[in-house]
Amino acid sequence: MNDSATPLPDPVERLLAEHLDRQAAATATESLRERIRQTLAADAPAMPARRRGRFVRWAVGVGAVACLFIAALSFWQNGQPLRASPQALLQETQKTFLQPVYRSYLVEVQRDADPADEQIPFFARGRQMRLWTRGDRFWIETTFPNMPQRGNSWGRDEQGTIWMTFGPREGVLLSPTETPRWLSVYSDLCSMQPDRLIAEVLRDFELHREDAPEGSPVHVIKADLKPGRWHPALKGAILELDAETKVLRRVTLRRSAGDDTPLTITYTLIETKSQDEIQYPLDGKEGKREFYTADYKPEQRQKLLYPLFGQRASEWMKPMPKLPLKK
């Protein structure tokens, strides 16, 4: 190989070889070595079988080839199309995110009892939550605990600001700098941005096609983390795509809350609306709804948030100390 051979006579090849050297030097491979190690470790039980002799391997190999040949022949004779790879299907799904429509998913959260989190309105058990999504926009319609008479919704914008609405006239904004980590984690866990989800699944997960129920017009794809890969909150997923449109019809995410509590969240497509039929809650609301912030009517904001976050809110939203005025 080049690194041990004599210098390349061609200047283009020499520049290219040096370029590859620099790229190699800038490439961190520890995690990849670990991934290879884990894959081989997973193979370990199969290793003794390999040592039984070449004949066994040969026989198994010939058998496998024969089976594949027969299966392929049967497939061809029946005139059935070959199954598309899960990657190809999800790439088709990605194209659906460009459509100018809002999709609504029913959100169901399953987790072991954890009374401490009952006060997280995003996770209020037994309450119906509905996720609306379009591109990188999303929001969730729900009913916050202790305020059943109000229509509530919350979401997070492109800048990371969490917003919540309380009825038609009031709302609060939490800037990223004042959002506590636990709240940020919970909003991550409960929301779903399909475009980001699919990109991450394609990148970091092993994908397998699963058999759909008989007569069901869906493709089912199971995603498990690749060995050696790590994801902050997603451990696995089952994605059901409409066989014809490739739209995500149902998404089941295996997540892990900050305390490693396993969590299963299911999103089921229930409705699709055009942009004319539904409006992003923050669009066209100027003058109709007041949004309280840390600077604008902070006491009103606290009044709305305390019932939702309870003790956590008191720890987090301490009143700002008043600094003495300079003379």
């Binding site: 051979a5 990849l32 290879i36 190690r37 894959t39």
Partner: protein, 183 residues
């Protein structure tokens, strides 16, 4: 990582993996232009070879087999995903391929000239087909034209033409830098 050698029963093989892995990933990246895909390909190719470590003498023959395997896997992957693996696509870090290396070499004391050269090489490689990239990279790595032909499933003549055209195309992009090297 002592575990890897324990699993494979050979410290020499572990050392071989440690030594060859960065260059193998860089090689795969130069073909598929996407870091995550390059890692996946390298992972699969190493696993395939390491599972047969009892058959191959990896420290001696492994590197050649590895590059052949990576080349084939990259071409397969590229052809299968041609419709989505755009050269303009961003990689996992959100960088465009052309900016990936230039982005990494961004230390203030790094010579500007080197950064420009890296960009020129990236641009030149992007302008090549995946077969041309593979042929030229293999040549750069010391493979003979016959070996390149075997790897790419071509005749020796076609492999030679592929290398020649790739080199010519890259030479156009690198023209400003070739003069100083020739001198």
């Amino acid at each position: 990582m002592a575990e890897l050698s324990v699993q494979l029963g050979s410290a020499a093989v572990d050392a071989w993996v440690r030594e060859t892995l960065p260059r193998a990933v860089a090689f795969a990246h130069s073909l598929v232009r996407d870091h995550a895909t390059a890692e996946d390909i390298a992972h699969d190719c190493y696993c395939r070879l390491l599972r047969r470590a009892d058959v191959y003498d990896l420290p001696t023959d492994g590197t050649r087999l590895l590059y052949r395997s990576i080349t084939n896997a990259s071409i397969n992957r590229f052809q299968r995903e041609r419709s989505v693996l755009s050269l303009d696509a961003t990689d996992r870090d959100g960088n465009s391929p052309a900016g990936s290396v230039a982005g990494r070499i961004s230390e203030p004391d790094e010579p500007l000239r080197l950064r420009e050269l890296e960009r020129a090489i990236e641009r030149g490689m992007e302008s090549l087909s995946v077969m041309q990239r593979a042929a030229l990279q293999l040549k750069t790595l010391g493979h003979s034209v016959q070996e390149i032909a075997d790897t790419l499933g071509l005749t020796t003549t076609n492999a030679g033409v592929l290398v020649h055209r790739a080199r010519q195309a890259l030479a156009v992009e690198l023209a400003p830098y070739l003069g100083e090297r020739a001198g």
